[in-house]
Each structure stands twice: as C-alpha cells, then as structure tokens.
C-alpha cells in the first residue's frame, strides 16, 4: 500500500509520518465509525436474545455521588447518579457537566412512549466536539426502566461520549443481554431522574418536526439545556474549558468521536 496509513493485525492504525499521525488517526477512526455504524447495526431482536444469559435487573443502590440538575427551557430535571454501578459513565457525564459542555445544547430527539435524547447538538443542531469514547458498562445489572438516565452510543458498545437519553417507559429491550456483539450489549444506565420527571414527560409531549439534519423527532419549540450543574457547585469548574468545545471538528486530535 503506498499510503502512509495501514492497519495492523489488531486493527490499529499505524502511520509512518508523525505529522500526519495526529490528524489522520482520528479521521480514520471516524471513518471506521461511519462505515461500521452506518451499517444497519441494530439492537438484537428479542427472539435472538432468548438463549443468552440475561442478568436480572437490580435496584440501583443509594449513591453518595453528587446530583446533577439540568436547567432546561422546559424546566429543571434533577438526576441522581450511580457511580458504584457505572463509574466510568458517571465520571464521563460529570466531566461534561463540569466543563459546561451541555450548556446551550438541545434535547434533539423525543419519541413519546420511548425516550428523550440530547447532549451533543447546539441550538443550530451542529454536533459539538466530544472527548474520547468510553467503555460500555451496560452489563452492570441496571435496567432501562422509566426515568433512568442512559449513555447513548453508536453500534459499537464502547462508543458512548456526551449523548444521553431518558427512558420514558420501561425499555427492557435496551438492557444488556450478552457480550457477543454490539447488538446484545444494550445501553448503560448510569443515573435516574429524582425530580422533574414531569419536565421530561412535558418535553416528550411537545410537537416534533424535522429540523436541520434531522428528518423528524426534534421537539418544537427547541428544548435547550441552558445549563447543567452539579448540585452544590455554582458554575463549571473552568471557564476556559467551558468555552473550549468547538462545533464539529471531528479531525481534531482530541476527538475520537463515537469511535
């Protein structure tokens, strides 16, 4: 291959030119994500999961973790987090909150009877630049019950970044059913609404429309997270980091993006 990039047996990209490396690797990962995730990879049908070992959903333990409140244009939503059951997911979410990443983002996808999703897109529906993806913790025994807060991701179980969703109903079909593939991994529950579920329901009840790159399901009017704060902490930890996330720069060094 004449190109400076190639893939070794482990699937990692090696690049012979250091100058190219910082730019090319995220781009290649982006493409891989694109090609993989845009394949019709989906949740496994229930019929296929019947033979897998399903962990019984358990009740989440009380947690010493700080609560987070999302101040939205439809009202406040307070969530408790489950650091014992989903430490990486909780730390990831808290980091985005403390960075001010969610401030000014929208809940871009609402489907009554299913979920409300947000955490990536700006008011003009441009995706923000995220940090690296995190490993799935969907096998933590927590079930996708009504009111739970969940890491959204692509087809790769380990591709969650900033996006999250609230389950509007008991969506047990989104639970981990086995580690065979992205189809069976399910979605990581890492928190639960403790106050303001009526706000979540109100968002879900808004009329929806196609807008920007979305064909449908964008609440109308736009639901904006004006700010997200850790309860007891007044403002994002760093004003500079709050300003850092730029709009959609997938090739930047720090952006693994849904990899």
């Amino acid at each position: 291959m004449s190109d400076p990039a190639f893939i070794n047996h482990a699937g990692y990209v090696r690049v012979s030119c250091a100058h190219v490396k910082s730019r090319l690797i995220p781009m290649l990962k982006s493409l891989l994500a694109t090609l993989l995730l845009l394949a019709p990879l989906t949740l496994v049908p229930l019929t296929l999961t019947a033979q897998t070992t399903k962990r019984a959903p358990t009740t989440a333990p009380a947690s010493p973790s700080p609560d987070v409140v999302l101040h939205t244009s439809q009202g406040d939503i307070t969530v408790a987090l489950y650091p014992d059951k989903a430490p990486k997911s909780v730390a990831n979410f808290l980091q985005y909150v403390r960075d001010g990443f969610y401030d000014g983002t929208v809940m871009h996808r609402a489907i009554p009877g299913y979920l409300v999703q947000g955490g990536l897109y700006t008011r003009d529906l441009q995706p923000k630049r995220t940090r690296s993806a995190i490993a799935s913790e969907a096998d933590n025994g927590l079930s996708n019950l009504r009111g739970t807060l969940v890491v959204a991701r692509g087809a790769d179980p380990n591709s969650g970044t900033s996006q999250f969703f609230f389950n509007l109903v008991d969506n047990r079909r989104l639970d981990f059913t086995g580690n065979q593939s992205g189809l069976t991994w399910g979605y990581t529950v890492f928190g639960k609404v403790t106050k303001g579920m009526d706000v979540v329901d109100k968002i879900a009840a808004l009329p929806t429309r196609g807008l920007g790159p979305f064909a449908a399901d964008v609440p109308n009017p736009l639901v904006v997270i004006t700010s997200a704060r850790v309860v007891g902490e007044d403002s994002p930890a760093s004003a500079s980091s709050a300003a850092a996330p730029a709009v959609a720069k997938p090739a930047r060094k720090a952006a693994k993006h849904q990899g």
């Binding site: 891989l32 019709p40 949740l43 496994v44 296929l48 979305f214």
Partner: protein, 242 residues
C-alpha cells in the same frame, strides 16, 4: 408500461454472482423498456467516495449508464451504506439523485419514496450517530482522506461486521409504525415505498381513514428482488441467480 424499484443490493466484490445478476437485469428488456428505474439506497455494501477507481463502481456506472442511454430515467436515493455517493458519480452513471423522502407521482398516485432507515426510530444506536456522520463537514473530512486509507477501513469494517454478527446480514430493526404513518401523513400520500429493512412485503393499512399501502423492497443477498409498479397493480418479483 411499468416503473421498477430496487434497493439493498449490497453489491460487493465478494459476491460476484449478485453483481452479475444486477448487470444482467439492467440489460434486460424489462428494464430497457421501463418508464423509470428507481434505486432506493444501499446499492453497494460500502461506498468510499466517488473517486474510487475500483472495478465495481466502474461496472455499476457502465450498467446504469446503458439504461440511461436507452432512454430510461434512473433515480437514485442514498442508503446508509452509500450515503457518500454524490453528484460526481451520479453524472458519470447518468443517475438522478433524489432526496430521502421525495414524493413522485406514479401513474397519477403520489408515492413517498424513502430508503427507510429514518423510520427505524426504535434503534437508539443507529439514530444516535446517523445525523452526526452525515453533516457536510463529516463527509468532507472523510472524503479528504487518502483513497487507500478509506479502502482499508471499508475492508476492516466489513470484517468487523462479519465478526460481530457471524454473517454479512445484520439484524435490522423494523420501521416504527407511528414514525411510518407520520411520514406518510406529512407527505400527504397513501403509498410509501422503501427498502432498508430487508422485509419485502406489501402492507395494507389505514391512514387518516383512507386505505393506504406500504411497500417494502427486498434485498439482493440470495437472489434479486424487484418491485414492478404499473397503472393497475404493484408486484414484488424475485430474480434468480443463474
């Protein structure tokens, strides 16, 4: 007098018999005498850019160009596998690109045409990334990569996909009923034709107290699948691999 629809061929060098079936079908009298041919997405297993100089894109362009040269309009709507296919290839092949969700009147009946993936709203993973990778910025970033790098990753994606599923055919979630009805209602049509789900069928339904139908195109994994629409009827037909 007939209008033909195909989708989800997933043409790939690993399945030469399907590519040959596609070429033979496009050279058939049925196609050459059709009123129009519509390809509603996922023509190929992976599309890495219009600048791909591999054999398969060239064969596809030649096959479609011959249909166009015979006076048959060929319409193309991208699917989730070939959303990077653009105007450059379209011009080379003589394709007319259609936006997902286009309404065309077929023999007097407005018909909504979609690939179908946007209707699969239950699929969190898919919908989480779909828009993210289809922004002009992302497409530009990907297409600016060296061709060999894109080719290598397409190859790896195929391998990973097979390793994950044990087969080339992934499990695809069906369309969401409410999303489908809303799309038809918004487009003010009583007929929808789409692919993507690989569940070929003609579904009758009630929409706003009217009789309506949703026609799902079949895939081309084991054999070919064609929808033939005439002024009087719609018919899903299979094509055997010779």
């Amino acid at each position: 007098m007939a209008t033909l629809f195909i989708a989800d061929l997933h043409l790939d060098p690993s399945r030469p018999q399907i590519t040959a079936l596609f070429e033979n079908y496009l050279a058939s009298d049925e196609v050459r005498h059709a009123d129009a041919l519509y390809i509603l997405g996922d023509l190929v297993e992976a599309w890495i850019g219009d600048d791909d100089d591999a054999e398969l894109p060239q064969r596809i362009a030649n096959a479609i160009r011959a249909v166009r040269d015979a006076g048959v309009p060929v319409y193309f709507m991208v699917g989730n596998r070939d959303f990077l296919l653009g105007e450059t290839f379209a011009q080379r092949a003589g394709l007319t690109l259609l936006d997902d969700g286009t309404v065309h009147e077929l023999y007097g009946r407005p018909t909504l045409l979609m690939h179908g993936d946007v209707l699969c709203t239950d699929d969190v993973a898919y919908q989480t990334v779909r828009q993210q990778v289809r922004t002009p910025q992302w497409k530009a970033q990907i297409l600016s990569m060296p061709l060999e790098a894109r080719r290598a990753f397409a190859s790896k994606a195929r391998e990973d996909s097979r390793a994950h599923t044990g087969a080339t055919q992934e499990s695809i979630m069906d369309v969401n009923d409410a999303a489908m009805k809303r799309a038809m209602h918004d487009a003010d049509v009583t007929r929808l034709i789409h692919g993507h789900t690989h569940r070929p069928a003609v579904h009758s339904l009630q929409l706003d107290d009217q009789d309506a139908e949703r026609i799902v195109l079949g895939d081309w994994y084991e054999h070919g699948s064609v929808l033939k629409v005439t002024p009087d009827r719609v018919e899903l037909l299979g094509l055997s691999v010779s």
